[in-house]
């Protein structure tokens, strides 16, 4: 065990900061620091800026355009981008479907999709959950019937984040109803402009449009858009869901929220209030624990030690609950003005705080609810 930080990593962090100072447009940063959902225009513009530097997909294998950085440096990069107010790149594309294509896709599929994702040309949406298949994803019912060189897809997906931005969707579909549920699922890439697809907005309680329902009515999907074999979809999904847990950016987001909380508390004259100062101190303690858990998970990534503790689940539970606590304190700091409904165009300094707090109710629900995560942690300790 050797816990001192490598000075070379500090130099790397400085390099990233210098890049952000030069390359991140101030108005883009301002927009994204407020707590509203990022726009497609911002996400795409930023992806292109990153791509010009070769940094749009740091976590990809180098042969596909990744940077070859250590897990720790990828984390530091993410932290700096977040802190500076850079918008995210399309998570569904870069962090969810791309690793699946890299691991299970054919060279043709990789060639067709990965460079376009890397450049920021294509946006993707995830078609996994259904109204009757949330935590119990394996019970999904969207059907894909083989018809010659196509599948015909009928069904409905829900909770598709930024589905309305998507050029492509990746979906879990049922290709075989005669076997055990997990074994009858396949992974399909579906052009979002295919005839028969209807995308319907879901307005969330923050009053904004980020989520969508996607309806499939006789949608024809070429067989070559299937990733992996028929019936291998659940394996692809498990791989993807484990990645989702690993890439959930809990520490960068929490750090940014804490920084905003401290600034707001100071502006509101609350930093001197011993009760409020104690609540902020509690957040700092939890964040320190989250950060060091993350550093440990990053340093063990890919090694045997990684299996010794349920890192992904622990980080998801702690990171999500901390986001909610910090968000609640931010709203509290606003006092009475925290109840005003601002929209994304509002210039008020408080804009976005309450909306973010409301939307973050979902963070303990999506990506595997915290109840499921606790089931997984318990299984690690007690067996099935």
């Amino acid at each position: 065990m050797h816990l001192e930080r490598d000075p070379a990593d500090a130099a790397f962090r400085e390099e990233v900061r210098a890049f952000l100072r030069d390359a991140l447009p101030p108005d883009m940063a301002q927009r994204n620091l407020r707590g509203f959902h990022p726009t497609k225009a911002d996400m795409q513009a930023w992806t292109r800026i990153l791509h010009a530097r070769g940094w749009s997909a740091p976590h990809w294998p180098v042969e596909h355009g990744g940077t070859g950085w250590s897990p720790l440096r990828r984390h530091l990069f993410e932290e700096e981008c977040f802190a500076a107010g850079a918008p995210p790149t399309c998570t569904a594309a870069f962090s969810l479907v791309a690793p699946v294509l890299q691991r299970f896709g054919t060279p043709e599929q990789q060639q067709r999709h990965l460079p376009a994702i890397l450049r920021g040309d294509t946006f993707w949406g995830q078609g996994f959950s259904e109204p009757n298949a949330g935590s119990d994803l394996a019970s999904l019912r969207t059907r894909a019937l083989r018809d010659g060189e196509h599948y015909v897809v009928d069904g409905q997906k829900t909770w598709t984040t930024e589905g309305h931005y998507a050029d492509w969707l990746f979906c879990l579909v049922r290709t075989d109803t005669t076997v055990a549920p997990q074994r009858g699922i396949s992974f399909l890439l579906i052009d979002a402009r295919s005839p028969g697809i209807t995308i319907r907005p879901i307005i969330s309680i923050d009053g904004a449009h980020s989520l969508n329902e996607v309806f499939f009515d006789g949608v024809r999907v070429p067989v070559e858009n299937r990733v992996g074999d028929e019936g291998q979809g659940w394996t692809c999904a498990k791989f993807l869901l484990e990645n989702e847990r690993a890439f959930s950016a809990e520490v960068p987001r929490n750090k940014r929220m804490l920084a905003r909380l401290k600034a707001l508390a100071a502006a509101q004259g609350l930093a001197a209030d011993p009760v409020f100062a104690t609540r902020i101190a509690e957040i700092e303690v939890e964040l320190a624990a989250l950060e060091w858990l993350t550093l440990r998970a990053l340093s063990e990534h890919g090694s045997d030690a990684a299996g010794a503790w349920p890192a992904g689940s622990l980080l998801h539970v702690l990171g999500s609950e901390l986001q909610q606590k910090t968000g609640a304190l931010l709203v509290e700091a606003l006092g009475e003005r925290g109840v005003i409904h601002y929209d994304a165009s509002d210039a008020d300094h408080a804009a976005g705080i309450t909306a973010d707090f409301l939307y973050r109710r979902a963070v303990t629900i999506y990506g595997g609810s915290n109840e499921i995560q606790r089931n997984l942690i318990a299984r690690h300790l007690l067996g099935p």
Partner: protein
């Protein structure tokens, strides 16, 4: 002490429940939001006597008690009324306890008839729930007063006919003496109102008063000595909010339990998972604590010892805040994804409780008050 409802109270509750069932639907509410709130519903409230309820019968009121008000707010809560019930019914009645005969005769009948709505314009920027923190000024002019100052975030202030405005006739910003309460005509010259929307769907206004003339007959109680009245008003408001919160929390619990019984995942209703059962049990515990405190609030409104009464109402707001936060969060969590959608009522109940947390002092403020 008798916790059962008497006949009158049962009838009151029934008539409110009928009103909610017929006109208080979630989708209807969405339509009403376009205009701020529904004048039709307001007329119905007047018809069944809600608006007259807490006012003295000598002037057209019904001499209702704190428990009657509690019943109304608890029963109406799940319909998430957009209308200015709290200021017109509760705050108005509390304020007018110190009104003159002439004022009662002038204002109570139109309030009871649904023709006069009120808004509470007391808090100021930076006051952070401290009731004595008033900078808005009132200077004498002829037989009346001229008011200058800002009253931000006046709930229902955008549509109110009259504003209950506090202003300082003497002293410095945080002095306990020198505050006066005015029943201002919202359409008077010099009143500027900029509307905002709140997360719970209601409307508010940032109000600026510039040289607004108020006749002496619109001053409530003795000018300069209004703080005790303002404190009482806040206590009445807290008691009503506590009742509303209990109604909301009950609705959240009921809906959550239903969902646990009906939502199927992993081959059966999710209510069979022990962790979720215990969560629902914890929600019930939190609800019952809140319910007891709401009753305590109604009781303590009549407590003659000022300090005891203030402490009691602070304790109530703390319990409500803590229970509401837990129940609201858990209700959303247990509903999974649909809890976070705008389409489903659970998120709206949650947002109302969230907004309520910062009305008339948040949990931390009242914890500090209680421990003084």
């Amino acid at each position: 002490m008798n916790f059962a409802l008497d006949d009158d109270q049962r009838m009151l509750k029934d008539s409110v429940e009928r009103l909610v069932a017929r006109d208080g639907g979630f989708e209807q509410r969405r339509l009403h939001m376009a205009d701020g709130w529904s004048r039709t519903l307001w007329a119905r409230y007047a018809e069944i006597g809600l608006l007259a309820l807490p006012y003295p019968s000598t002037h057209g009121g019904l001499n209702g008690t704190a428990v009657d008000t509690l019943l109304v707010f608890e029963t109406l809560a799940r319909a998430l009324p957009l209308e200015p019930l709290l200021p017109t019914m509760v705050i108005g009645a509390a304020a007018l306890r110190e009104a003159s005969e002439e004022q009662l005769a002038r204002w109570v009948p139109p309030i009871a008839a649904g023709e006069l709505t009120l808004a509470w314009a007391h808090g100021e920027a930076g006051s952070r729930y401290r009731l004595h923190d008033v900078s808005c000024r009132a200077r004498r002019e002829g037989a009346g007063w001229v008011l200058d100052g800002d009253k931000p975030l006046v709930v229902h202030g955008d549509s109110a006919d009259r504003l209950l405005v506090s202003a300082r006739v003497s002293g410095e910003r945080c002095d306990r003496d020198g505050i006066a309460l005015f029943m201002l005509d919202a359409n008077a010259l010099g009143v500027a109102r900029r509307g905002v929307r709140l997360h719970d769907g209601r409307r508010a206004a940032d109000i600026v008063l510039e040289g607004v003339y108020v006749p002496a007959s619109d001053v409530i109680g003795e000018p300069g000595k209004a703080l005790p009245l303002i404190e009482r008003i806040a206590q009445h408001a807290i008691a009503a909010l506590a009742a509303e919160a209990v109604g909301l929390m009950q609705a959240l619990l009921d809906t959550t339990v239903d969902y646990l019984k009906t939502r199927q995942q992993f081959g059966g209703p999710i209510g069979r998972f022990q962790a979720l059962q215990h969560r629902a049990a914890e929600m019930l515990i939190a609800l019952e604590q809140a319910r007891s405190m709401a009753l305590y609030a109604a009781l303590m409104l009549d407590e003659p010892d000022d300090a005891e009464r203030a402490k009691a109402l602070s304790a109530v707001k703390v319990q409500i805040g803590q229970s509401a936060r837990f129940i609201g969060q858990q209700a959303i969590q247990l509903h999974g994804g649909i809890g976070v959608t705008d389409e489903y009522v659970v998120g709206h109940w949650f947002k109302r409780l969230t907004v309520m947390e910062s009305e008339f002092g948040d949990t931390d403020h009242h914890l500090a008050e209680f421990s003084r």
